[in-house]
């Protein structure tokens, strides 16, 4: 049995080129099973050898030449160039931030929170704040910190929670959504907005709030 195993290993090793050595041939002469194995392997190898050889096309060198010229015109990337390293790190940071949904968010509570019948409860990021609709409020981020949040934990502004009597319509400039309060649902994509200005655009039954991202350097009205 061991002889058969050795014989077959030797056959496998010599194929597809060489003929088996004398020791293998001696074993084959007395072992029908190994003879059958050898014949089968020979037939298989022969089948493979009959596959036609494919050649490169005639314009192979021409195509290669063109590609070489094209690439030689391209500026080679210097991997250890400090500027390249910095740019790569910056790109990597941005990619990671996007993947983790990193957002700049305020560390401090920024909206006035006194309760009032006229106040508008506002879900900002993951906290609730109340704001008087007749006032112009500028939300400023005094300090910012990076917080990575899982997508599922993304906070929402739920417009339904605005006082219906006061603010039946909500408009946002960056997201042109105009909807009845009871239907509006603003996903807080505006978490990316560093400063938000909230101001009433009309009064009475049709009171609306206009929520717009504001440039923090813009003078407050």
């Amino acid at each position: 049995m061991t002889e058969c195993r050795r014989c077959r290993e030797a056959i496998e090793a010599t194929l597809p080129k060489r003929a088996p050595d004398e020791r293998v041939r001696a074993h084959l002469s007395g072992c029908a099973a190994c003879r059958a194995f050898y014949a089968e392997r020979l037939a298989l190898v022969e089948l493979l050898r009959k596959l036609p050889r494919v050649e490169a096309p005639e314009d192979f060198e021409q195509g290669l030449q063109t590609a070489l010229v094209t690439r030689s015109r391209m500026r080679p990337l210097r991997l250890l160039d400090p500027a390249t390293v910095l740019a790569s790190l910056a790109a990597l940071s941005v990619t990671i931030a996007l993947l983790l949904n990193v957002r700049w968010s305020p560390r401090e509570k920024i909206l006035s929170t006194h309760h009032d019948e006229k106040a508008v409860p506002l879900f900002f990021q993951d906290r609730i704040a109340l704001i008087e609709p007749t006032e112009t409020k500028t939300v400023k981020h005094k300090r910012r910190t990076v917080r990575a949040r899982a997508m599922l934990n993304r906070p929402e502004i739920v417009a339904k929670d605005f006082a219906v009597k006061i603010a039946p319509v909500i408009e946002t400039e960056d997201d042109p959504l105009v909807a009845r309060v009871v239907e509006a649902r603003l996903l807080n994509e505006a978490g990316e907005v560093q400063t938000m200005r909230i101001e009433p655009v009309s009064f009475g039954d049709e009171t609306a709030l206009k929520i717009i991202p504001a440039d923090p350097h813009t003078k407050q009205q």
């Binding site: 597809p16 392997r41 037939a43 036609p52 494919v54 490169a56 290669l64």
Partner: protein, 209 residues
């Protein structure tokens, strides 16, 4: 006419002189800026590499692209090439890596062209080969073509880790040691994978043996 024949003689003489030059010498000459030396390397390996990649991928256009990319990589890495290994080992390794990467990329994107297995590289007809005009009788030719398609199909369905060493050994007739170097595995692993590949292939091609 006399001038033409002398140019042809010169060309033949140059070709013959290149034939005697080792791959390593050609690479050194290429490094020194001798473009003709690189052209000679391309001439030596373009067909073997194209054939090898074609058998790996079963896609002629892809094989040509990868073969060209292989030479581009060789050219781009001239400065990093060490003569520890034979040039053939080096170029087969590059071609193998490129082909495997592409196959995996296509597999991820489900881009594998199954029809390419059956398609000739010169047209859309389902033929593995271009039968020679002075070949066997048409019936025999058809049978041979069908058998070759079956063999190509069977090879294409082998797992990658068996397919690559099998092609290198049984089609490209590379030595075990060289295959081990190309694939960065031990010689024992190469032997066992080739043995396993042949066993799998035998099962698939039993009707043709």
């Amino acid at each position: 006419m006399g001038a033409l024949s002398s140019i042809e003689d010169l060309f033949v003489a140059v070709s013959q002189s290149f034939d005697a030059v080792t791959d390593h010498r050609l690479l050194e000459a290429t490094r020194a800026g001798d473009e003709a030396a690189f052209a000679e390397l391309v001439r030596r390996y373009r067909h073997p590499i194209t054939n090898y990649v074609y058998r790996l991928t079963n896609d002629y256009d892809l094989a040509v692209d990868i073969a060209q990319e292989t030479f581009l990589r060789v050219y781009g890495a001239l400065a990093r090439y060490h003569t520890d290994y034979a040039f053939s080992t080096y170029i087969y390794r590059i071609a193998t890596n490129l082909a495997i990467s592409e196959l995996r990329r296509r597999k991820r994107r489900k881009l594998v062209s199954l029809t390419a297995i059956f398609r000739s590289h010169k047209g859309d007809e389902e033929s593995e080969i271009d039968p020679a005009d002075s070949g066997p009788l048409p019936d025999a030719t058809l049978i041979a073509a069908e058998r070759q398609r079956a063999v190509a199909r069977a090879i294409a369905t082998l797992p990658e880790k068996y397919r690559v060493p099998l092609i290198l050994r049984d089609l490209e007739e590379r030595g075990y040691e060289e295959i081990a170097t190309i694939l960065r595995v031990s010689e024992g692993t190469v032997k066992s994978r080739i043995s396993r590949a042949r066993a799998l292939l035998r099962d698939k091609l039993r009707a043709h043996l």
